[in-house]
Amino acid sequence: MLRAEGLKHSFGAVRALDDISFTVQSGQTLAVFGPNGAGKTTLLKVLAGLIQPQRGRAQVDGGRRAIGWIGHQPQLYAQLTVRENLRFWASLYDVSVPAELLSRLGLEEHAGRPVRALSRGLVQRVAIARALLHDPTVLLLDEPFTGLDRVAAEALSRLLAQHGAGGRATVLVTHNVEEGTGLATHVAFMRAGRFVHFAPRAGRGPQQVGEEYRNAIA
């Protein structure tokens, strides 16, 4: 469903990706943990086709149409309403906004409000709706929990769990081991552009993964 083979990419002297290879099958969720500057966002952008790697290749079955992206920036227009934003993005995917999407995310009563008038948690919910409106089979998540309160974070976790249970693939990059581990079927630790650990989660809890992460990154 998603393959990365020998990815290498540098920004000047900074090596952002250094020989990264992995595969994510349908139903799997890979959580990539790493400190700031480890190359996590670059990895996601390469997988999405937003950056052409200098070496190696990334392939997503179904191409760009199959990808849904949720980042810490919502990719929304602040002056437009929630409905106008979703209609615009839906038009680029040649779909209409699924009727149940707004209600599923609790956005019905906010549909006519401009995005700039919404709280951070609500904006993130709209960003999730934007990412899911074309029913993607691969979700790429870049620090999706940033700025969310506990309730919103739990709601997002539930949604992502449903996504994985529906046989889709997810790659999540974050520095927050607590929030990422619960969703993951596979775990990777990233440092200076390299995977220093990549394995199935195999029943490990956030505490154990966190300890292993700290040891690997130290």
Binding site: L50, R64, G71, Q75, Q79, L80, S91
Partner: protein, 228 residues
């Protein structure tokens, strides 16, 4: 990608840009004020006994449009950086040329609105007759505008991720604007002086060729310019 899909996606991008501008009205208001101020300053700063209005008006008109258009073009891709919407556009399964065409259409509507304000003000302040030549004048302004907005939209995309985008855009764009602007100024001068249309046909043809060449080049180059 089939042409109907490209046009549909282009229209989506253009309509979104115009709706965003309609909601905020910040750019159009500031540029409209700029146009009025420039024309007022030139009106009071000129010496009517030194140069006739008909000789002076074309240069002032096009200088005003040039700088107003640069202000407008600067914002074309800036709004996509807010909340990283540009990444969303690049991720969408659309031909990247449709992003360019959509931006070009929105910028043309924006600059045309400025020109709609500027031409009557020029006629008022400089006491030049435009109504008898309105048809050819509109065609001339449209041909010149398409050319420099086409180049400006491309350069706006190229410079938007740089640190000095607002400075870099005019530096890159102005040399490319010299040919269409000089043809437009010369042709406008002939029109306002009441010369026969046959005298400006050559410049109109040159402007049309410039438009075709640079729109085609921009369509070709745009996908490469937006890659990170």
């Amino acid at each position: 990608m089939p042409l109907p899909d490209l046009l549909r996606h282009s229209w989506s991008v253009a309509a979104k840009d115009l709706l965003v501008e309609f909601r905020s009205r910040t750019a159009i208001l500031s540029v409209a004020v700029f146009v009025v101020l420039v024309l007022v300053v030139f009106n009071f700063g000129r010496d009517p006994t030194a140069v006739s209005n008909v000789d002076l008006a074309p240069s002032i008109l096009w200088v005003t449009f040039t700088f107003a258009a640069i202000l407008a073009l600067n914002r074309a891709f800036q709004l996509e950086l807010e909340n990283q919407a540009l990444d969303g556009l690049l991720l969408a399964p659309i031909d990247r040329s449709s992003i360019y065409v959509g931006k070009l259409v929105a910028n043309l509507v924006f600059v045309a609105t400025i020109e709609l304000i500027g031409v009557p003000l020029l006629a008022l302040f400089f006491n030049v007759r435009v109504l008898p030549y309105l048809g050819p004048l509109v065609a001339l302004i449209a041909l010149a505008t398409v050319g420099f907005v086409a180049v400006g939209t491309l350069f706006s995309a190229m410079t938007v991720r740089t640190r000095f985008a607002e400075l870099l855009l005019p530096v890159l764009l102005l040399p490319f604007m010299i040919p269409p602007l000089s043809w437009a100024v010369l042709a406008t001068g002939r029109l306002l002086a009441g010369r026969p249309l046959s005298e400006i046909v050559g410049w109109l043809n040159m402007l049309a060729v410039y438009d075709i060449v640079f729109v085609a080049l921009a369509l070709l180059l745009f996908p490469a310019t937006v890659n990170e």
